[in-house]
């Protein structure tokens, strides 16, 4: 699709992710998606802004909340819906589900439901990039603030800094590890701690602004591609829906609706209804086709149960 400018291209990509997830919300009560879903609604700009400057050969590792990164990195939408439906045509043949999307053909290297567990994978892939002289390749580890509690995160920062590896740590901070805030979990200053490894740090509080994310992140990508050494960026964002599931949870008491409204008030996907109207029909048509594909695809059967174990 051709776009008149970068803003509209990124807007379109972010809107597409949101509409996909809104369709998931509509479908969910039908029980056709038989797995937990962790929605990225509110966080789309981070994925879109970051992936814009990545090449398909750049590898990205992420977590169970990965619909946005899967799509932003170029993963196939029909295969994503088929995977959510548990169909054999899914990106993981129905064996992964929402939490384990993968699209290695575009560098989406697998999403794990164990918090922080793919951060060392990104560092290891960066080690391979360096050793095997893939001099143009950049590796990205995407994780949330919960992951910054984990030992694997600290171990990964240390090794990446020690061996000067071309990896970008994308700390997508939506404010909550499930329901708990970072202040109740950290005795340390998160970014100061990163700096103590000698890793350069960037911070962006406007996680809703895909243009800003793109601008800052593309600079980091260029830098890491050249210097072959790590960088960490924290991008603040906000998860509009509950941790897992399709509902809102502002009556649960751990956060206020005012907090949400603050983020919504600057959300381009809400503010710019003109562009929404421009691109929505085509996106809905694409989503309709993808859902249709998932609905009509066959289930994996007995012959798939024991394949690819070893």
């Amino acid at each position: 699709m051709d776009f008149p400018n970068l803003y509209e291209e990124l807007f379109y990509k972010a809107l597409r992710i949101r509409l996909v997830e809104e369709r998931i919300i509509e479908l969910y009560p039908s029980d056709k998606i038989q797995s937990p879903v962790h929605l990225s609604i509110g966080q789309e700009a981070v994925a879109v802004g970051a992936c814009q400057s990545l090449k398909p050969t750049d590898l990205l590792f992420c977590s169970y909340r990965s619909h946005a990164f899967y799509l932003a990195k170029g993963g196939n939408l029909r295969e994503m819906f088929a995977e959510l439906y548990g169909k054999v045509t899914g990106c993981c043949e129905g064996k992964g589900g929402s939490m384990h999307l993968a699209a290695p053909e575009v560098g989406l290297m697998g999403a794990s439901a164990m918090v922080a567990s793919t951060i060392p994978h990104a560092v290891g892939a960066a080690l391979a990039a360096k050793r095997l002289k893939k001099d143009d390749q950049v590796i990205v580890a995407v994780f949330g603030d919960g992951a910054t509690d984990e030992g694997a995160y600290h171990e990964s920062l240390n090794f990446a800094a020690l061996h000067k590896l071309p990896v970008i740590f994308l700390f997508e901070n939506n404010g909550f590890a499930v329901h708990s805030r970072i202040v109740s979990r950290h005795a340390f200053q998160t970014l100061e701690h990163v700096r103590s490894y000698g890793i350069p740090v960037s911070h962006l509080s406007d996680g809703h602004d895909f243009m800003k994310v793109h601008e800052v992140f593309s600079g980091i990508v260029t830098d890491v591609r050249q210097t072959r050494s790590p960088h960490l960026i924290e991008i603040q964002t906000y998860r509009y829906r509950e941790h897992v599931g399709v509902n809102e949870d502002y009556d649960a008491g751990y956060r206020s609706r005012e907090e949400l409204e603050g983020w919504k008030a600057k959300d381009p996907l809400i503010l710019d209804q003109e562009l929404v109207a421009k691109y929505r029909p085509a996106i809905l048509e694409e989503i309709h086709g993808a859902v249709e594909f998932a609905e009509t695809s066959p289930w994996p059967d007995k012959e798939h149960l024991l394949t690819d174990v070893i």
Partner: protein, 370 residues
């Protein structure tokens, strides 16, 4: 320790081959892997120091460079994840743990990630890597430097778990894992095997198919002994003694691959002997002993003419006091007695037991290096 153990895996040939220690076989496979495959790296705590994982990697960092053979931070979980990521992007990592116990710190990456990556993503990824872990025993290794945790790993679909009992198995399994196999392999080595010499047949190490097979290492008609790792040696010593002292004819099977035991080899043997003893380096409950019993019960219970006997460590953490440690591990004397009882059906079988208190005499001389 000048004894040469004349075992040639997969055959019962006593033909003279080159004599080689377990350590030398490990070193040879590590060096050849680096020499033949530019994408191989060896990573682990101490791989590049003067001890070099009990000699199995000594000098390799100097020969192949610190980019390919490197020391790691004491961060087992993270380092295993880094190995997985490296494998996903084209390297073949060989990771070492100087004790099996240390790998417990990496269980998330081993079980939740390495074992799952291929299946969970519909076959779209492969994680070819080798994780070497060493079992410690004797000289007060104690509760946290002595565990044989093969059952924990072999329980998990997606992992291939081997326990090479001799250099021949090392020479067959490691090159195959590194050059032909595309899934994670966990190899559990026994520290006390490192110094022992065996005859090997280097010419037959070129595996025709996957070498994850169980191997008949002694033929006999009186009883089938299925054993792992150093217990294969113990079983062979007991078998030789019983042949001399009691006319008992033992068949010994080296299980070799713990995750995928060769059912046919076990069943065929027990169909012939009617009696089964399982000797493992670990605890019996829920482990190799239990699994071999499951195989028998499910496939050929009527082949058994007597109840199965299992031999392993006592159901306690490993103690350090020598008096307790000697009781904790199965001795050659007790193993021999168990076999004699099973074969004769008599508790007072009258067959003299070995003079040496146990193969632990070898262990008793062991005072490191660790």
């Amino acid at each position: 320790m000048s004894t040469v153990h004349t075992m040639i895996s997969g055959t019962e040939s006593q033909s003279v081959g080159e004599a080689m220690t377990y350590r030398e076989a490990l070193f040879q496979t590590m060096r050849e892997a680096l020499r033949q495959h530019p994408n191989v790296i060896i990573m682990g705590q101490g791989v590049d120091d003067h001890k070099g994982i009990f000699g199995s990697t000594r000098g390799l960092a100097q020969e192949f460079g610190s980019e390919r053979v490197f020391d790691t931070p004491l961060a087992e979980d993270g380092m295993t994840g880094i190995a997985i990521g490296a494998a996903l992007n084209g390297l073949y990592p060989i990771q070492t743990h100087m004790r099996v116990d240390f790998a417990l710190l990496a269980m998330n990456q081993i079980i939740n990630l390495a074992a799952k990556y291929k299946y969970m993503f519909g076959g779209r990824f492969e994680v070819p890597m080798l994780i070497r872990m060493v079992i410690g025993r004797s000289w007060g290794q104690g509760a946290q430097h002595s565990q044989s945790l093969q059952a924990l790993f072999a329980h998990i679909p997606g992992l291939t778990v081997i326990m090479p009992a001799n250099p021949q198995s090392v020479l067959e399994c490691y090159p195959y894992a590194i050059s032909k196999y595309r899934s994670p392999v966990i190899s559990i080595e026994h520290r006390l095997l490192y110094d022992l010499k065996f005859r090997v047949d280097q010419a037959s190490t070129e595996a025709k198919g996957p070498p994850w097979t169980s191997r008949k290492v002694r033929s006999g008609r009186g009883v089938t002994i299925v054993a792992t790792s150093i217990m294969v040696l113990e079983a062979l010593r007991a078998a030789e003694h019983l042949a001399r002292a009691g006319g008992i004819d033992c068949e010994v099977i080296d299980l070799n691959c713990v995750s995928h035991p060769d059912k046919a080899v076990i069943l065929e043997s027990v169909e012939k002997t009617g009696k089964l003893l399982v000797a493992d380096t670990s605890w019996q409950a829920y482990g190799v002993c239990a699994e071999v019993c499951r195989i028998m019960c499910e496939h050929a219970p009527s082949a058994l003419k007597a109840p199965v006997v299992t031999v392993g460590m006592q159901p306690a953490p490993c103690p350090t006091a020598k008096t307790l440690e000697d009781l904790f591990y199965p001795s050659l004397e007790a193993l021999t007695d168990d076999i004699a009882k099973l074969v004769t059906g008599e508790n007072n079988h009258g067959i003299p037991l070995p003079d040496e208190h146990s193969f632990a005499d070898v262990y008793k001389r062991f005072k490191g290096p660790f």
